[in-house]
């Protein structure tokens, strides 16, 4: 009797464990159900590669948003990846352990700060500086890149620190024994061994940047135009959804869900890349 009640618990827990998968499927199903018919009707080519977004007159081209999203994402990576990885290397390889003990939680704190707060600081502090120094509207791709770069720091940094910590101590000792300086050992052996982990961190940071919404809405300017420079205002895919969801109906709303599909697919690809990078690391060990 006891054994059969245990079997019951096992089945129950299996059902519970399947809820995540179920949630994922339902989310995908509903986003696709709302967006896919529209996407097929307008045609993915027209949707993705037309730069004419005027929902009130039936023009649905998201190219400007796509380009802005890419700009902002790569801008964020240019800021966040070098800083995050450099910080991770310093804290795990060179800095005193006491510093790492303080710095790690401090930087992870950044991950907890609401994105709207970052956006607000961007508006109040960063935008005026950019406007003053470089001209333009201030609220721009550049501002969004800088804010997002800071926001993805904790992701990149903590995954990088884990990756570096997973490199066996013997690798370092081996290189040092051959007469390398510590920096050479780190550069040529440790960073290389941790490479796929650093890559995975960067890709996950990238996913975070692509998906971030509220901070970007506040600082990117949101103009529906093809951005010509980083000082231009731009509207990302996420911002487009969030800004227009409030009042969109009919075709317009479907177009926003179709934008959601684009985003969803993009994120899934990035996740796949990151997890295969992490697997490669696991396989190497």
């Amino acid at each position: 009797m006891k054994a059969s009640s245990d079997a019951f618990v096992r089945r129950l827990l299996l059902a519970v464990a399947c809820t995540t998968v179920l949630c994922l499927l339902v989310i995908a199903a509903f986003i696709f159900k709302e967006g896919l018919p529209f996407l097929l009707k307008v045609g993915p080519g027209n949707f993705l590669f037309s730069s004419d977004w005027r929902p009130d007159s039936g023009h649905y081209g998201i190219l400007p948003m796509l380009v802005s999203s890419l700009y902002v994402t790569f801008g964020a990576l240019l800021v966040g990846a070098p800083l995050g990885i450099a910080g991770a290397i310093f804290l795990s390889e060179f800095g005193p352990p006491a510093l790492a003990r303080v710095a790690k939680p401090a930087i992870e704190l950044l991950a907890g700060i609401p994105s709207v707060v970052f956006g607000f600081i961007g508006v109040m502090v960063l935008a005026p500086i950019i406007r003053g120094a470089a001209g333009g509207p201030g609220l721009s791709i550049l501002a969004a890149s800088l804010v997002l770069g800071v926001m993805i720091l904790p992701t990149i940094m903590s995954i990088s620190i884990d990756a570096l910590a997973a490199v066996p101590q013997s690798y370092r000792e081996g290189a040092l024994a051959l007469g390398a300086t510590k920096w050479q050992a780190v550069r040529m052996v440790v960073v290389k061994a941790a490479g796929s982990g650093l890559l995975a961190g960067t890709i996950l940071g990238m996913g975070r940047a692509v998906g971030e919404t509220m901070a970007v809405i506040m600082v990117a300017g949101n103009a529906v135009r093809m951005p010509r420079s980083v000082l231009d205002s731009g509207r990302t895919l996420t911002a487009n959804i969030a800004l227009e969801m409030g009042y969109a109906t009919g075709m317009h709303r479907q177009a926003l869900f179709a934008t959601g599909i684009v985003l969803f697919v993009f994120i899934m690809i990035l996740n796949g890349l990151a997890s295969s990078a992490l697997k490669r690391r696991a396989g190497k060990r």
């Binding site: 009797m1 006891k2 054994a3 245990d6």
Partner: protein, 251 residues
């Protein structure tokens, strides 16, 4: 007299490896069976096969039969949970649960639904006395079991097993990490316990087997080399390998 446990062609596989290779033996009731053999000879595997603990490990498969009181432990009708209530086990490393001394002892009885405080109190005293631990801990039954010394912890584990009132007690090198005095206490407890229980004592200390067990089985590389009355195994073994091992000339 029918034996308490009959083991027939018992085989245990880990993945593809056959760790226990077709062991057959009988364990008489109210006796202590000592199991000796070098490291890796599958003593632990044999012991754990008796109460189906091996199957908690990944990739483990068991073949053959183990009859306890004539009932096949690996038969479809046998519930391993019920079996483990009848068969107590003490592990090589003392592992108190992260609970108080008292709660460690009553863990099993509570699972069986014993709620009565007086009954539990009586049981705790009885079992701790039987394990020769009562005098050392009677004033701190509420203290953590983890804070006892290694020897005390192992006796706590024995008391915890006794509280199940098991018919069969399996001990896996219970004294391997203990000093001579703690070891003597445990051996003394065992010699009294065999009046009411059947005991299998795995040990890699041949002297302990010689002192404490009535019968001795010698395992080598997953096989039972020979088994017989302890006196004969240690003075006049029939197999050359047994002789080498008990006289310390092994390897």
């Amino acid at each position: 007299m029918t034996p308490k446990v009959e083991v027939r062609d018992l085989r245990v596989f880990f993945g593809g490896e056959e760790a226990l290779r077709g062991v057959s033996l009988d364990i008489a009731a109210n006796r202590i069976l000592g199991v000796i053999g070098p490291a890796g000879s599958a003593k632990t595997t044999f012991l754990r096969a008796l109460d189906r603990m091996n199957e908690l490990k990944a990739g483990c498969r068991t073949a053959g039969r183990v009859l306890v009181d004539g009932e096949d432990v690996y038969g479809p009708a046998c519930d391993p949970v019920a079996l483990r209530k009848r068969v107590g086990m003490v592990f090589a490393m003392p592992v108190p649960l992260p609970l108080s001394i008292y709660e460690n002892v009553v863990y099993g009885p509570r699972l069986n639904g014993v709620r009565n405080k007086a009954e539990l109190d009586g049981l705790v005293e009885e079992c701790l006395r039987a394990a020769f631990l009562w005098d050392e801990v009677k004033d701190r039954l509420g203290g953590s079991g983890l804070k006892l010394s290694g020897g005390q912890q192992q006796r706590l584990c024995l008391a915890r097993t006794l509280a199940m009132r098991p018919e069969l007690i399996l001990l896996d090198e219970p004294c391997s990490g203990l000093d001579p005095i703690s070891t003597a206490r445990i051996e003394e407890a065992l010699s009294l316990l065999k009046e009411r229980h059947t005991i299998v004592l795995v040990t890699n200390n041949t002297k302990q087997a010689a002192r404490a067990s009535d019968e001795t089985a010698f395992f080598l590389m997953g096989e039972l080399v020979e088994m017989g009355p302890t006196g004969r195994i240690f003075t006049n073994p029939s197999d050359k390998r047994t002789e080498d091992y008990v006289t310390g000339r092994f390897g």
